[in-house]
């Protein structure tokens, strides 16, 4: 994503300590206007803490956050006018209806009634939720709750959207609706910061920041990150997956082997050299196997690969 001008969000040296632990340490990154910037990492990596500090609901111990030239640390209330934050836990009122929730948040942001009504219709339509306007939020499915959360956070047309694991526990169909809305927002210039536990979802972001143990380890586009993946991922189908697994484990050049449903996934250091080598060895050992197919690693493969590498060194 090329930044047309200066970054929309600037984060430098962001640090947050809790009693006994450092949740986030020295995180530095910029996000350009119109990006969908993904925060990925295991639970406890510090994603939520970063989000909260950016949303102005938690004070960092050190570092600076600027959103649209507003210093979030110094003046969080000013920043809140420009951004919307959707916490990980459903933040809406389950005992209010869809319409009542929307009205409440619109009023908090002082959206004029006429404007609110104009915006509500299309947002509900885009999320396939028009039929549920009078339903209590507590009676919505997980996916619809998240979509309602998104609608509420969009009602004041924020320039920056902070979404903390918005799709956790959401069914794939609603997830697609959700992302469709995000992409259309991005088209209109909204900058989106999203954290996710679904690593397959991370591929949909324009750039990714990999957090681990409170530190930002890697930050780049999914494509370039995948290029960092040590070794090459091979998928090998087999009717005797366990024998295959055993045969590959510990062989020269085989960095890891993982049993999957219909075979194994193996990471090798040098595919050009190892594929014929392994193929021959398996044939010799009379282990039934399909072709050794090079596959694009998923973000999860990458994640595990990078961190394993780190632990080793």
């Amino acid at each position: 994503m090329s930044a047309p001008d200066k970054p929309k969000i600037r984060v430098a040296g962001l640090t947050k300590r809790f009693v006994g632990t450092t949740a986030v340490e020295g995180a530095t990154f910029d996000i350009a206007r119109g990006e969908i910037f993904g925060l990925v990492g295991p639970d406890g990596a510090g994603k939520t803490t970063v989000m909260r500090m950016l949303a102005g609901v938690m004070r960092p111990d050190a570092g600076s956050i600027e959103i649209d030239d507003v210093d979030v640390v110094a003046d969080p209330e000013q920043a809140k006018l420009h951004l919307s934050y959707m916490p990980q836990r459903f933040g809406l009122y389950e005992d209010l209806t869809v319409d009542e929730n929307i009205r409440f948040y619109a009023d908090l942001f002082e959206v004029p009634r006429k404007l609110r009504d104009e915006r509500t219709g299309p947002l509900l339509a885009a999320s396939n939720m028009e039929a549920f306007r009078r339903r209590l939020a507590g009676q919505l499915s997980g996916g619809m709750k998240q979509k309602l959360g998104l609608i509420c956070s969009l009602i004041h047309t924020p320039q920056v959207l902070l979404l903390d694991e918005p799709t956790t526990g959401v069914d794939p169909v609603s997830r697609r609706d959700f992302w469709r809305i995000l992409y259309s927002l991005r088209e209109s210039g909204v900058t989106i910061l999203i954290s996710t536990a679904y690593l397959d979802e991370a591929e949909r972001c324009t750039r990714l920041a990999l957090f681990h143990e409170g530190r930002l380890r890697y930050c780049d586009t999914p494509k370039r990150l995948k290029a960092l993946m040590p070794g090459t991922l091979l998928a090998i189908t087999s009717t005797a997956a366990r024998d295959l697994h055993k045969a590959l484990l510990g062989r020269d050049g085989v960095m890891s082997v993982m049993l999957v449903g219909d075979g194994v996934h193996a990471v090798v250091d040098d595919a050009d050299r190892r594929v014929p080598e392994l193929s021959a060895a398996l044939d010799a050992g009379k282990i039934p196997h399909g072709e050794l197919v090079r596959v694009t690693p998923s973000i999860e493969d990458l994640f595990v690969g990078l961190l394993k590498d780190e632990h080793a060194s």
């Binding site: 934050y85 916490p87 933040g91 809406l92 409440f104 009023d107 908090l108």
Partner: protein, 378 residues
């Protein structure tokens, strides 16, 4: 501060109360239940106290006196004896609470000196009801002696002061019917206000923490002041509604005399509501769990109101230390005011002192509550 946002908070809060059976119960059912429970159940009035009489004179006067015991609803003459042994047996056996003995020289002393005495023997195992029975007996006797005095004065064609044995009168001055309910009911109003105010508001913020809605709320531009006002307004309205309900209940159902003005009552109720709502809110901000907040609210507002406000136990009979503590109890002032407004009909001017105390209290709580809520997650 924006009115629109305060209104949004208030509307939201009202909808939530409306849809929450527990809150609704506290807001609407509690006052009625409390009034009924305390108005009927905890009725300190004893009726038909079993009494045993021993008329040692058997004169016209003594019979007239004992007749009064028969005719009043406070006593039921269950036994008439003619010796002390039977009398003692009746009291010891629990057949009667109190025995009235008319001395043999009753009429003589009355006509000689214009004063006489009757003996009362009381089963004092239950101190409270013993006192009560004695009080009633005294009032019966003094009523009788007053009539005699007037009668005699009339007969002699000259004015003569009635015998001054009416020490009880001071106790029943503003409650001449001797109905303890008249004392209880104004106190119940305070109890209801304390309960409704603190219980409902103690949940309001902690609920947002527990349900996870707080995180989103603090990420919006709403200010702490707007949150507080928006949240407390609906409860203020509910509080007033309940006050009106209690008042109507008291006056039209329990026939408690209401001698003051509705203005004084509502003005002071407003002050008291600010105090209890503010306290509930403070607790809710500090304690993030609903159960904890509700219990602490009970401890901080309900208990002192019940025990230390003068509602059940007269403050002037408390040990000095406890009495000093009551000055810190907000309900003390409100109960004082309520009793005065109901029974004495006093207005704002006469009640300036407790009103001032409550105003200071309200201002203090309001300032603390407004500053307590921070838009932060830590």
């Amino acid at each position: 501060m924006r009115l629109g946002r305060i209104r949004a908070m208030a509307v939201k809060e009202m909808l939530q109360v409306w849809r929450d059976p527990r809150s609704l119960m506290i807001a609407l059912l509690m006052p009625v239940m409390q009034m009924a429970l305390l108005g009927y159940g905890v009725n300190l009035d004893a009726k038909h106290i079993p009494v045993c009489t021993f008329d040692r004179e058997g004169s016209q006067f003594s019979e007239a006196l004992l007749k009064r015991f028969k005719s009043t609803a406070y006593f039921a003459v269950v036994e008439t004896v003619d010796n002390y042994r039977a009398l003692t047996a009746a009291v010891d056996g629990g057949d009667c609470r109190i025995a009235i003995v008319v001395p043999p020289d009753f009429s003589k002393r009355l006509s000689d000196s214009g004063a006489s005495s009757v003996q009362a023997i009381i089963d004092a195992t239950d101190d409270n009801s013993a006192n009560l029975a004695l009080g009633y007996a005294q009032s019966v006797v003094s009523g009788f002696s007053a009539d005699i005095a007037v009668q005699r004065a009339g007969m002699q064609g000259q004015w003569m002061a009635a015998p001054a044995a009416l020490s009880l009168e001071s106790r029943v001055w503003f409650n001449e019917d001797l109905v303890s309910r008249n004392f209880i009911i104004p106190g119940v109003v305070a109890m209801v206000m304390a309960l409704v105010g603190s219980q409902l508001t103690s949940l309001t913020i902690s609920r947002e923490w527990e349900r996870g809605t707080m995180e989103l709320l603090v990420s919006t531009p709403v200010t702490p002041m707007e949150v507080m006002l928006g949240k407390l307004l609906p409860y203020f309205a509910i509080g007033f509604f309940d006050a009106a309900l209690c008042l109507a209940f008291a006056v039209f159902w329990f026939d408690v005399p209401f001698r003051g003005t509705v203005f004084t009552l509502f003005f002071t109720t407003a002050l008291f509501l600010i105090v209890v709502l503010g306290l509930g809110y403070l607790i809710s901000v500090t304690v993030r769990s609903q159960v904890g907040a509700s219990q602490i609210a009970l401890l901080v507002t309900m208990l002192p109101t019940a025990l230390l406000s003068g509602y059940t136990f007269p403050i002037d009979q408390m040990p000095a230390l406890i009495r000093a503590v009551t000055y810190l109890v907000h309900a003390r002032y409100y109960v004082t005011i309520l009793k005065a407004v109901f029974l004495k009909g006093e207005g704002v001017v006469e009640l300036a002192e407790p009103i001032l105390a409550m105003t200071i209290y309200a201002a203090l709580v309001a300032v603390l509550a407004a500053r307590a809520f921070r838009k932060r997650l830590e």
